[in-house]
């Protein structure tokens, strides 16, 4: 419940802001406003400066990078670093798309089933099982990397895309289950009871009632998982190889080989950031809701 309260608070349904009801317009209030805006702008510069430098550099020729100020926008912007970076990242970006789509669908579907069961059904040891499930969110992956590496090799999935999909699915389930349990808790029990009395089984109730009435929740978790898996690097490094390397690993390898060509590296970073940026701009509301639901683990 708490998840929803905070999430909706951010989305504008909560209480208003501190100054809404206070008397505006006095001189001291105006001074405060100017001060606040100045601070906000200062912080905006702090958060955006690295991106600006990356953008300007990614639009320059290699020789231009060496002689111009990195913050100056190029006099004649070029897209050639983007083409060069894409040529090198093409295959890893495709791998990333496959891994991310597979891992997202797998973890969201399985996490959703868990969330549904733990939100709406009581069974033996349900609290204990749920606690164990959610505690897995806090697992430091270093404590299971060796067994994971051995398991994936034994399954013949080392250096394969299905291997990475499997791993992302497994480690994504706990967070998805937690988020879904919160969202499904808001589906009225009477709806489910009514459907049960009409002779529907849990699976039909899940597909005909719970899923259709929680579309926003599904989108939220999908967006959250997509960005998490897309951004991930450790598993790609451990069980990915030349044939299944995600773009995160490929970008990092580029750094090792092209130490001087910052423009290509920055363009590569932009390629890697692009899907997340698109989601952030198009579905920022859902992403933020996901961050808040993810944060509720501890509050």
């Amino acid at each position: 419940m708490k998840t929803r309260a905070t999430a909706s608070g951010l989305c504008g349904n909560g209480r208003g802001s501190a100054m809404d009801s206070s008397a505006n317009g006095s001189a001291s209030t105006r001074v405060l406003y100017v001060l606040f805006y100045a601070l906000l702008l200062l912080f905006a510069v702090f958060y955006l400066l690295p991106f600006w430098g990356a953008l300007t550099t990614s639009l320059k020729q290699a020789r231009e990078v060496a002689i111009t100020n990195p913050l100056a926008f190029p006099s004649s912007p070029t897209f050639s670093p983007y083409l060069e970076a894409f040529a090198q990242l093409k295959r890893p970006l495709l791998n990333s798309v496959l891994i991310t789509v597979g891992g997202t669908l797998g973890s969201v579907f399985l996490g959703s089933i868990c969330g549904y069961a733990f939100a709406k059904y009581r069974f033996r040891y349900d609290n204990l099982i749920f606690t164990l499930l959610v505690s897995a969110i806090f697992l430091p992956y270093q404590a299971i990397l060796v067994p994971l590496f051995q398991t994936i090799r034994a399954l013949g999935l080392y250096n394969t895309i299905p291997g990475l999909i499997l791993v992302h699915t497994a480690y994504g389930i706990p967070m998805c289950a937690l988020m879904f349990r919160g969202f499904y808790g808001d589906v009225p029990d009477c709806l489910i009871k009514q459907a049960m009395m009409d002779g529907n089984g849990p699976w039909r109730i899940y597909t005909k009632i719970v899923l259709p009435s929680t579309k926003i929740a599904t989108v939220t978790v999908l967006v959250f998982q997509f960005t998490s898996i897309w951004n991930e690097m450790l598993f790609g490094l451990i069980i990915g190889g030349p044939d299944s390397m995600p773009a995160t690993i490929a970008l990092n390898n580029m750094m090792g080989t092209l130490a001087a060509e910052w423009n290509v590296q920055m363009a590569g970073s932009m390629w890697l950031a692009l899907p997340v940026l698109i989601l952030y701009i198009a579905m920022g509301k859902y992403l933020i809701r996901g961050y808040m639901a993810g944060a509720v683990t501890a509050s």
Partner: protein
Amino acid sequence: MVGFLKRNPLLLLVIPLGLVFYFVYVGIGWNLWVSVSDWRGLNASYGFGGFGAYIRMIGDSTFWISLRNTLLLFTIIPICIVLGLVLALIMDQGLKGTNLFRNLFLLPFALSFVVTGTIWAWMYNPSSGILNSLLRLIGLESLTGFWHTSQQTVMPSIILALVWQFSGYVALIFLAGIKSVPQSQINAARLDGASQFKIYRRLVLPQLKGALTTSVVIIAMFALRSFDFIWVLTGGGPGYSSHTLPIQMYKETFMSSRFPYGAAIGNVLLVLVLLLVMPLTYRSYRR
């Protein structure tokens, strides 16, 4: 099959719970055994081999550097909390464009550590990087430095970059906490003649405990798992100066094939999570 599932719907849980049970809990047990196994070199071996890996830690100066750096990353927590709280309070003033600023502040958190690590490598590049160029441009030549390429400044550089990445998120959590204080309480306090400052101090801040715990837990988890960003930015260098436990674990295990030692370092991280992070979450689970 369908009928069977209909009568026993809980069987659907077997797949997800089985995956998590195997990949998390079996993995933890297996890893505990690896750390005391007689596994030497590349080929796995599971006989008992003694506690050599843990004894090795005591005399391994790299381990102590890694542990110290891992704990050093916890300084991100108070910095992010102060910064996040200030930003959240400013964003609570109902200024026009607040949502735009909030989205800008949160942007670094949305991106991959690989992207931000690559960008910060260019930020910190000593010869022609963004930060040194900027400092020269505004006449602060004396502040230019070697940042992540010097043993003295590498950890502060990493901490500054991670504050940049996390503080917007902490601000978001605090802002949500502030917004969830009931308006009726605030109106009542205002009727009693309380000033805005007093309302924040007496009424709002005490209700931010949950947001505070959340922030601490999330940043602490990232600190204990700190691999991607540091691996991309410094690879643990120069020398061993920015090794953290996850970095050392990776190098020992997958670059030097010391599997029991790597497993043991992983177990130390697990213990740190159990000691430092889980107690904070336990109270909230019970509620």
